[in-house]
Symmetry: D2
Subunit: 357 residues, 4 copies
């Protein structure tokens, strides 16, 4: 088994030109499994239908090319700042080594969750189990998982009608949906104590957090949907991930890129310049008081959605480090990092040689 990673660009949510090219490069019709992780452009609001459009276009493109492999898709909205709309295709093939011999991929999806099971213990548990299935699917030990990408259902105001007032209070809150899901991932990864990660802790106890999770919420699914990526034992690691202190923590990002506590910015820039980075994922959070390094920002006190501030600013910081804009940046890191922090992950190809390992 080998997993290949491809980057594709989108000139609009339904532009499948580049996506079809990478499907062909990947010989996707012969793949055992596909995973797609992409950012769509649009207003990223309740009435941004770009994600629905992209989803339709992706399914049509797969059908058009006669691709029947199991496919897990995570689409995240919002490409503000210097984010290039587009995404990554992961193709799991039965044989061959490819450029990422050490990369492992697993996917899983839960049953649909009823509204009464959202933003509470049952939500946490459903995500926990789905992550464990995905890890099992990846066939590597849990400690080798570098990144869990998870989509959680959102408790919309519509489906929350008739529920408890606690649940109603969490209705339409992407942050609360992400928070519940992140606790479940943290338990699955052994990073969060299940005794503490209860319904009461969701969105409240910020001492509980995973260190390898990125969670997205959406109305387009009623299931927990999970893609895990990690490193196969006995191979050079293909993936590096970790916590950054805040969204301008370029030194933290550099340590992750270099895989070394001593790795400096220039070292990380060198790796980036030599084309070694095949994929980059950043989930940015900001402390609830809106302060960064002690100074005020307007991230939570403006008419612009906080996630837009975060995505755009983080894209500048990450773009500065990588010298590139083709990456995946998302906002909102509830229980996915300490308050104000974020998660960063990169996939490295073998490149010209293996000097930097």
């Amino acid at each position: 088994m080998s997993v290949e990673v491809y980057r594709f660009e989108m000139s609009a949510p339904d532009d499948m030109h580049s996506f079809k090219q990478v499907l062909q490069s990947a010989a996707a019709q012969d793949a055992r499994r596909l995973a797609i992780v992409a950012k769509t452009e649009g207003t990223a609001t309740i009435n941004d239908f770009g994600r629905s459009l992209a989803s339709r276009a992706i399914h049509d493109a797969l059908a058009e090319l006669g691709i029947c492999a199991h496919t897990q898709i995570i689409l995240s909205m919002g490409s503000e700042g210097v984010i290039s709309p587009g995404g990554y295709l992961f193709a799991d093939r039965a044989q061959g080594e490819g450029r990422f011999p050490g990369l492992a991929l697993g996917t899983a999806r839960s049953q649909p969750l009823p509204a009464a099971d959202l933003v509470n213990d049952r939500h946490i548990e459903a995500m926990r189990r789905t992550v464990l299935q995905a890890i099992d699917d990846a066939g590597i030990p849990g400690e080798n998982i570098a990144l869990v990408l998870a989509k959680t259902p959102l408790l919309t105001r519509e489906i929350a009608a008739g529920l408890s007032s606690e649940q109603k209070g969490a209705a339409n809150s992407s942050a609360m949906a992400r928070a519940a899901a992140a606790l479940g991932i943290g338990i699955a990864l052994g990073e969060v104590d299940p005794a503490e990660a209860t319904a009461e802790a969701i969105g409240k106890n910020d001492e509980l957090f995973s260190r390898r999770a990125m969670v997205f919420s959406g109305t387009e699914t009623r299931c927990c949907e999970v893609i895990v990526l990690g490193n196969k034992p006995g191979h050079l690691p293909a993936m590096r991930s970790g916590i950054i202190a805040d969204l301008i923590d370029i030194e933290g990002m550099s340590r992750i890129v270099t895989g070394s506590a001593d790795g400096g910015i220039e070292d990380a820039r060198t790796i980036a310049k030599t084309g070694r980075i095949s994929a980059a994922f950043l989930k940015a959070g900001v402390a609830s008081n809106g302060r960064l390094r002690g100074n005020r920002t307007t991230i939570f006190s403006s008419d612009l959605d906080p996630d837009k501030h975060m995505r755009a600013a983080a894209s500048g910081a990450l773009g500065a480090l990588l010298g590139d804009t083709r990456f995946f940046v998302s906002g909102g890191a509830e229980h996915q990092a300490p308050p104000g922090g974020g998660i960063f992950a990169v996939i490295l190809n073998r490149g010209i040689d293996d000097k930097d390992h």
Copy 2:
């Protein structure tokens, strides 16, 4: 004469708490001259009245403290991303050395420009002359000017009624107003050939650009208003400025901070960490096709104002370099840099010692 530089913060456009403190630290009532350059928060749209509110509050604060010194104010709207709302106070004192013995300040303001004189040759000429007056006021040679901060009137649709169709075509365009003003500055600084910088070139001939100008347009003034900053001959330079290739050009920024073509990111970070940077100004532009390093962005193809994308993303890049969010970031670099480029400037205090000179 000595010029002192103070940073102040704002929790709202009319929050003058920190501003009054720096006025007192500056003994502003004894200053010969004051200059204020600040970013206000708000929606930064046609109906963002935060700038008007800040202007009123600043004048009231000055009056309240009995400060009669000539005061030049440039307020720019928009604090997206991680920009901390606030600004810089420059106080020009008759005596003393202060922390910036090499820093020179000059200001000037033109007569009000009639609508018929906007976005054409007369606009260019008015700005050119105002800049020359400000340089004269600063008392240093033009080549020692590090930064021209200029406010230009905007040709609003309202006042453009009755003008030529060329002028009407430029109505309500901040970009065109900034472009005309930037050409005037470029001529004054000897960076733009006056024979080429004619009305026809405004916003069109992108081979013409200043390298030391940041221009802002606004409806709150009918005059060209200019603040110049530079280095006094015979002193260690207090200010460094230059062109950056694009808004994620962290290496270009580092060369400017270090004042050396060999200055690396780590060197710049070291200067920043030791508290040597008293002020930082960034004007970010993006190529008109919206591409950065060859890749697509949605900067010119979304409902979010292009300047908001730019400010937020640039704040992330600059924040990553400086490890701080208290800086001045603005968008739109027409004729102020090559297409896609920007301008960056820092003021350095003497700090603990002068090792890095």
Copy 3:
């Protein structure tokens, strides 16, 4: 005593030209008391500073004209659709009859409310008492009150830190602040049963509602601020008010304008055309499912703030009826009308003759 009513226009939140004219027409320096109710333009979001600017400008204008009379000001943000930004000045004079011999005015303001007293029983009680004081101030029986205009503090996220989770859940919610205040008004007017109007009912029990209240929330005050308007016994009524079924209920509006259950749209148009309507106030609500006459709208399912949908649409309906755009329209009618309904009020001058009474 007589109360005169003046309309003023604003070309920007700090444009006091028309306001100063009406202050002079009103001989405001001799008034016993003034009340100002106005709509400012702007984005009407958390970072719309137009209201702060207008407030500063109004106080400066009053000071400039040497007016010391007690002045109660209610500024409401948002002039979408065809709403003309501007407002009404009410001047209470010691003598004379004027055009509104039957109009009574009262004002009151509570002590500042601590955060712990917001959006609960104490909030309801504070508003109840303030309304009773204002009615007392107006010197007419409570049943003669036609309209209570009330400003309530908002429980911001900032000041809610440290409060109970119930209160935190209501933080930053204009709707909840308005709801609590409206219950207090309803009790004061005898329209709401105090035994039912408890903390638990706030925003929940929609069978409780006043029929003569318009409530606005804002961060600019910590007090309950109230202006009541009504009809003096023994005079022809100057004011008519009542509930409308929804924001396109032109027949309900017509019954209120005509003061008759049989009053038709044409009758109301006739009154409007003859210049009898000196002021019009509309508070529009929409049922929480976003439906109107059984049909779906996007009022609660778009990126545009629900209040903007409501204000703009209601301005079209009211403009159609009155043939005018100089009126006060606001959105959000929690406990001020039955679900989906609204409140409408007009002040009629004696006009050319009294035929329509």
Copy 4:
């Protein structure tokens, strides 16, 4: 031949539940021709992909039901205020009389227009010819046409690269694209003098206007696409249309609904209440100074798109008249009405009886 009219609702741009129902009611698989005119919800900005999504969903729904009839689709974005997202299906059948025996339908589509043919004489001419074809297709005399619904390509900034500076100046302007198209329609209908309707007049000479046109621009087509509706000679008219003075001109709307210069608002309300109105179309314009009945609005001086102000306000006025929210409302009436005016049209079914004819 008979044309049937069906209304369908949409809970999202890709919700085809109601649309499929009307396709079945219409026995659309047996129709000679179909036309669809709908409003989609979304942000109605450059990156609102709701229209693309709806278009895909409609085509999929037609394919799913095996419908091969020629189908002309006009989708317009923006359902602000009280507009219910949804649309009208027109089904042209070979036989039968139906509820609209007097209604005629015609459609036509031009060849794709190269960018060089947009917003100039060739644009005007292309639209003129397409309208004449559609009228011919409808099989009724031009004077019997009640409404021309036309979609025009937009000259985007992207495709305008390399064109003349006049054309570049009109790039990305929906208003200019609509203006050019409207002149072509006006010529075709004999309402605009072809000698005057030249490139120079586009968007400038506001004395030239059609009285029966509604034009929409979009990036989704490179062709002129036209649907005409009118009344067959020898039948009771099914359709009424005309100019309204402004978007709150409820008396003008009433004259159109009643088909009588003496028709009052109550008469129009009666027709509406009895269910006679099967479709209503309103195109709202506002004078370029933003004034309505002499009073200021913020329609052209706010961050909210002018068309959103217009659509929302017009929906309130029209909703008040019709007591309904299921109608088609659009903004921007360049050369489609005198300055500040608009166009209004209704389709009447025979209803219970024919009393009101």
